[in-house]
Symmetry: C2
Subunit: 402 residues, 2 copies
């Protein structure tokens, strides 16, 4: 029933979006975006766990406690992080300025920033940008909105699905930015999802956390968690489906499936666009004691610079994969471990299968490579998406100058 469509944040009913060049980026590229729901939308959000979180995250944590929100204001070019009380006042002013123009309540507006850490927001430019973006926003502003949240991304990340819930067509759409958990001196993974599905706010908040844990939280580029990471979901109910009230509601799974489909698409795009990435890697851990340990082992493999550089070099260096699982802390039975790359078994019961290098060469040359390790310690599994580690990563992050 669920169907992938080509649409932006405005694909669901009742959402407007826009993006403009305010002048925050030296490049002159679009840097101010807005998303707006014509009616109050149930909201849910998750944010960075970084203790040095940016000012807008502090503001948004308050907004996310409310049931409903109306809009999101986003700037790129300045992260408003490590900016103290002045930064907090600036984030609040972005919020109140947009709320005033939209004639909605202060705590119905989310604010997000991404860009240089430690610099203050040039508020004259920001105010002018918000005003312009709100003026131009519309049903056709989805692409402009997505463009204005990018920093070092090499492609624009968006995804949308429709599904039928209780006889009504419900649409879920999303955009994301991020190429590295932190881009060069920039910060942030930002992602926004809109839907016209009708859902109880308290339930949406739980669903957002569940979706994040199964999508964005399963992606790692360099292991660095930014100061600004934010995921915000707005559900305005205009599809007219019977409101989904809890996990036992008959439509819960269909709605969850659509949210997750959008989030997983975007999460994978972030790994594809990892700084300097030449390959997309899928790390499957099976046979773990529980999900947490499966994820721990998969993350250890996905973060290992030795594993990532081996894939860059197209070297089927399975010892590094097994070794990373071994030091991850996850329980494993060393002499029962199995490992496959691209479907070819390389390690069986902890021993080298001595597969010929020629057999593996075409698999290692692929642009998307999947591996699976069986820890032989239980029934749980997890999948993490990452990318390889290239000269280009060092170049992007080493040659960039503050």
């Amino acid at each position: 029933m669920m169907k992938k469509i080509d649409g932006w944040l405005t694909a669901p009913k009742g959402f407007l979006a826009g993006g403009v060049t305010a002048g925050l980026k030296k490049s002159g590229k679009p840097d101010l975006a807005v998303v707006y729901s014509e009616v109050p939308a149930a909201c849910g959000a998750v944010f960075t766990q970084n203790k040095m979180c940016a000012a807008p995250v502090l503001v948004d944590r308050e907004v996310a406690q409310g049931d409903f929100a109306r809009g999101i204001v986003v700037n790129s070019g300045c992260a408003n992080a490590c900016t103290g009380l002045k930064g907090l006042a600036d984030a609040r002013e972005m919020q109140s300025f947009a709320a005033g123009l939209w004639q909605v309540k202060l705590n119905e507006i989310f604010v997000c920033s991404t860009g240089v850490i430690g610099a203050f927001m040039p508020m004259d430019i920001v105010r002018k940008g918000i005003k312009n973006a709100i003026e131009v926003m519309g049903r056709d502003g989805g692409l402009a909105c997505a463009e204005a949240i990018q920093t070092t991304d090499t492609f624009i990340k968006h995804s949308a699905y429709t599904t039928v819930i209780g006889g009504k067509e419900v649409t879920v759409a999303g955009i994301a930015k991020g190429a590295g958990m932190i881009a060069p001196n920039m910060a942030t993974m930002l992602t926004f999802l809109t839907t016209d599905g009708a859902v109880e706010p308290a339930l949406l908040k739980r669903m957002v956390k569940r979706v994040a844990d199964r999508s964005y939280n399963m992606v790692v580029v360099d292991g660095d968690t930014s100061t600004n990471d934010s995921m915000i979901v707005l559900a305005n109910g205009l599809a007219g489906n019977d409101r989904i009230t809890d996990e036992n509601h008959p439509d819960y799974e269909a709605f969850y499936e659509a949210l997750q489909a959008v989030a997983v698409d975007l999460a994978k795009m972030i790994a594809h666009d990892g700084e300097g990435a030449t390959k997309f890697l899928e790390v499957n851990v099976v046979g773990a004691k529980n999900f947490a340990e499966a994820k721990t082992a998969a993350m250890a493999i996905a973060k290992s610079p030795l594993v990532k550089t081996a894939f860059f070099g197209e070297d089927p260096n399975w010892g590094r994969i097994v070794c990373a699982a071994g030091y991850s802390g996850a329980e494993m039975i060393a002499d029962k471990v199995n490992l496959s790359i691209g479907g070819i078994r390389l390690v069986e019961k902890g021993l080298n299968c001595n597969v010929a290098l020629e057999t593996l060469k075409p698999i290692m040359a692929e642009k998307e490579i999947s591996m699976e390790i069986d820890l032989a310690a239980g029934e749980a599994k997890a999948t993490v998406w990452t990318c390889d580690f290239s000269y280009e990563y060092v170049k992007i992050n080493g040659e960039y100058h503050t």
Copy 2:
């Protein structure tokens, strides 16, 4: 009283050492080393926590439970890891073969291996090598021994100190290998310390753990913990000092100081020799809630690819350092954090000090750079040593082919 000297493992009284080319390395370089004490030596050791630990580590864990040992047999070129029951039998045979030649008990001999993971030991070559090494070992074999344990190291790591304990001169010496927690498809940090100090075996075991926690466990190159990491200390008592029995013994601190001095020297050399390193970095965390959190924050900074590539690029990108501390999980007061690089304050109470780039340029150009971050959450501190992350790291680990 403590004095640095130029000596090898044979600098302490009663130790013999040797190294030969057995033929395990394709390069024809020395690959089989032995260390021997003329009298039983109190022993202490710590090993990798990796669940995929190598066969010799399994054997050595048993040896380390005993009070006294006589020797260590080490090969490079083959890690004897992921080799199952056959690998374990091979490690035991190395042990029994050496014990037979030395006419000592089986469980008085440590065995260590470093090299390729997943390959079986060519035991004919190993036996011949052990026999030759034992034949040539002597008081002048320290350098040859150190050479034979190297893999991708770019220099030989050794350190020695003498100190006076209860009127007797006590010598502590050590060697180490390791350039990356794992070298390309090789495994292992190995380090061996010898001393003629007299110490109760049970106390030595505690001291070795304490020393490791304050030296090798404070070094990180790429965050990958190998399958073979081993630290072994032999103390044969031939210096004739009053035997140190416990932590309250008047000579405890002096002896500990000498052990730690050797271990810290070697640990720093490992960071200096990190794969592809162009800079040695010292990360000091102060103002942490406790030592564990101080270390956690320092390790997060030292492991961050973004921090490491920034130093490679000589970019004083302080946002990445503060950000890494922020996501480490250590408690910190965001608006009280201070950060200095090379003694220059860059962040004060969480805010950018706007130091001119020209001021920082000469500091960032140094080959050894120290940084200090104050988390403002307590009184504890920790220091971690690491290196930068260069194109060369990617080259070494990506272009190497299995």
